[in-house]
Amino acid sequence: MRTEEVDLEPDEGEVLTLHARLGLTDDEYQQILHRLGREPSRSELAMYSVMWSEHCSYKSSRVHLRRFPTEAPWVVVGPGENAGVVDVGEGWLAALRIESHNHPSFVEPHEGAATGVGGIIRDIFTMGARPIALWDSLRFGPLDQPRNRYLFAGVVSGIAAYGNAVGVPTVGGELAFAEHYSDNPLVNVMCLGLLRAEDLVLATSGPPGTIAVLLGAPTGRDGIGGASILASASFDETSLEKRPSVQVGDPFAEKKLIEACLELYRRKLVVGVQDLGAAGLSCAISEPVSRSGHGITVDLDLVHTREPEMTAPELLMSESQERMMAFVHPDRVDEVIEVARRWETEASVVGEVTSSENVVVSHAGEIVVDIPAQSLTTEAPRYQRPLGEPGWMEDLWSNTIKFVAQPAIATGLLQLLAEPELGSKAWIYEQYDHMLFLNTVVGPGHDATLLRLKGTDRGLALSTDGNGRVCYLDPRRGAARLVWEAALNVAMVGAEPLAVVDNLNFGNPEKPEVMWQFRETVEGISEACEALGVPVVGGNVSFYNETDGLDIYPSPVIGMLGLVEELLLPPPRLDRAEPEMAVYLVGNEWAPNLAGSAFEKVTFGHVGGRPTGPDRAMGRAAVTAARRLAEAGIPVLHDVSMGGSGLALAEICIASGVGASVAYSDWRFLFSEDPHRFLAVAPAVADDTITALCSEVGVPFLRIGTMGGDAIVFDRGGVRAAVDLTLATETWRKALPEHLRN
């Protein structure tokens, strides 16, 4: 069954016009008429519909994204290309990108997540880099609903099936649950690649006469209209009928394509490449020539296809996976085809770059498209959508819990440990190959992943962070805190923050409240990045994450890359605490604030109040202190974030298999998630180092207790709350599997 949205044939009695069925507004259609001075053909309309879609054109977000700081001496390629590229030293460049596959994962969780992994990997090797690691940031509705369990299990299996088989390890990520994601799960995947400086490839077409060679899997009727319809519209009950748009991933084809492309780059056989993702061929033929200011002629009859009798619009809109467009000097075409053949990958010469400014496409001997390349790309609509602070913010901020008595600390901690969001993620990451390439020094289950930079003494630290609750309560503070948290996370393994990529997941941009949340988020990320001196090198915007009118929490996800100049082995890890070691809380003491905390949500089902904002000076100092403590050989450093210092301590105890006893003054400090704080655990001999270092950097610190025993003990003036370590460990270990068994 094909849905109306993808049916390009005229339909008797159909009320909607063709452009509306393709997702273009009447105004946008008028714009096309005006630009061309004539009616567009069916194929032209198909191209405009995908290229002007929210997903491809960023038409609602572009005016805001300009705010991001994007420059630094180490930035080689900033936003706008397929991935950001930064210099990580000794001739090595790192390519980084994050992207969402939210709607496809709702429609078909396994294939949706799998093709999301495939897409982000292509973005990385399009730059000339070998993809070396993946992270996934996942958000679902509560697991007590069967549909959410199905989506969750499907997404994890899809990531595992594709990532493992394609040979790119999944080395970290994050996971959250909230009712708001029930019918709109968020699946964001980040990929890191490495390349030598001289191997950088850009998505440009080269001069006129350059030949366009389509590499990879044959084109079928997969995902037609995926960008314009699935990724750029809201969901309702009829969404499940949009299912035929979903593509099937083939990691084997992608693996061969990776190796073929890397060989093409190594042998300098291409002048530019563009992967085929959303908007498929339409994008791959128009964007590269638009960048270089040329035109192109393409013959669709030369495209290798999987299905017979595909129409021109179908060929132009297909989102078949595992395809790449290479731009090749005419003298090197035979070599390119030979390399592809050896890697058992198909290759077709489909077009030629021209000195005109038009994209000219023929099919079955007829010209079906003849339009200016720029009209598809740089001239795509941009909207300054109305925005306004939601009326509910004041109410949210004043909606706080007044505690009349201290709740039971031990029970509270056990409840946190039993939350699938906070408990062990081993059930997930044990399904992912997280060791391939022998780079994983610190793997999943820590604040940040630490990878060695092979052949050097350097290391790369990466973290993904999100927190929908805090961002909902204050989008600007929440987003800024995520940047600071990610920075502190990479500092936990000794890295200095270097670059940010962001995935901005939001509701319907046509609602002023959502656009306000978006603007505030961009502002928060920008402020924090400026304070840290870290550029944004790439990102992805996913709008229309709403179902039946309910928008998701504003859910930015921050990916942070940090650099360790000299890798210390072993680096700080959660499992290196030993009996007798001292426990320190490093960082600012704020007025206790539980707004947006996991503790309030888990214990009282409450989400309200106004979260504490970040502090530039303290944030910077905490990051520096953490990095220098790691360099000084402190065995355990652990960021205080969701669940507060109480949960952070428990995580150290569980990982190390040793109890601890710490003192506290106000119980709220144990569960507060206020920023710029971390725990350090060190032998007594290191006390002088910690004292000297923290004083020098200007960060408050407090020795709060000692490791040892078989319980996690919180002590206030002799009144003790204790959680048995074995019980804590079991509770934490079973948190996710227990909820999946329901």
Partner: protein
């Protein structure tokens, strides 16, 4: 220098790691493409892990037909050491160079996890000279890691202490009768440095290299 062929099928992904780990132990490990059938000049051969031909149809079923498998069979016949790791183990079984085969893990999910092993037989090229009962720590990384012997006799070289994937005889590594062809499901090359979690894999690869040098 001991020269080892590391076979690359389309879809293999552990070839670089295997070359690196063997290189760290002093070997000259070279990648050989699956369409080359001649392994003359090599002292031993490793079939590394990954997803040869996408694991489509059955793991190893298509790889078994590659020209290079003729060379691998000749090496096996000549008594040269042949080692299959993970997917390489599955390919050796499909090719009939080792007994048995594989089905999905007992828990029906992919498992990437450190496991504890014991040496059960010190007569193979993988475990030569090691005490029976020696404890080793290596990572598993497989979906079809559940070894099935069928009715055949098998020479089990390494066993799991905790048999997570449900393998018959708790077999983590199996040898042919002569002991020169061995398949191992966990990855020795991933246990090649303490900072990776264990260096026990070097004991196994070292034993393999010694046999290759002989």
């Amino acid at each position: 220098m001991t020269k080892v062929a590391v076979i690359l099928f389309p879809g293999t992904n552990c070839e670089l790691d295997t070359v690196e780990a063997l290189g760290n132990l002093g070997a000259d490990a070279q990648i050989v493409w699956h369409s080359d059938s001649d392994l003359a000049g090599f002292d031993g051969v490793v079939l590394p892990g990954g997803f040869a031909h996408g694991d489509y149809l059955r793991t190893g079923a298509i790889a078994r037909l590659s020209p290079v498998m003729k060379g691998v069979a000749s090496m096996a016949e000549a008594g040269r050491p042949v080692l299959g790791i993970c997917n390489g183990f599955q390919i050796l079984c499909e090719a009939g160079l080792l007994p048995g085969g594989f089905i999905a893990n007992r828990g029906l999910s992919f498992l990437c996890k450190w496991v504890d092993l014991e040496v059960a037989d010190q007569g193979s090229i993988l475990t030569a000279g090691m005490q029976r009962g020696t404890h080793l720590r290596l990572p598993l990384n497989s979906y079809e890691g559940n070894f099935v012997a069928g009715s055949r006799e098998v020479r089990v070289v390494l066993t799991y202490r905790d048999n997570l994937n449900g393998s018959e005889h708790a077999a983590a590594a199996v040898a042919n009768e002569a002991g020169n062809v061995v398949g191992v499901m966990p990855h020795p090359e991933r246990a090649s440095a303490d900072w990776l979690g264990s260096a026990d894999g070097n004991l196994l690869l070292g034993s393999f290299l010694q046999a290759a040098a002989a």
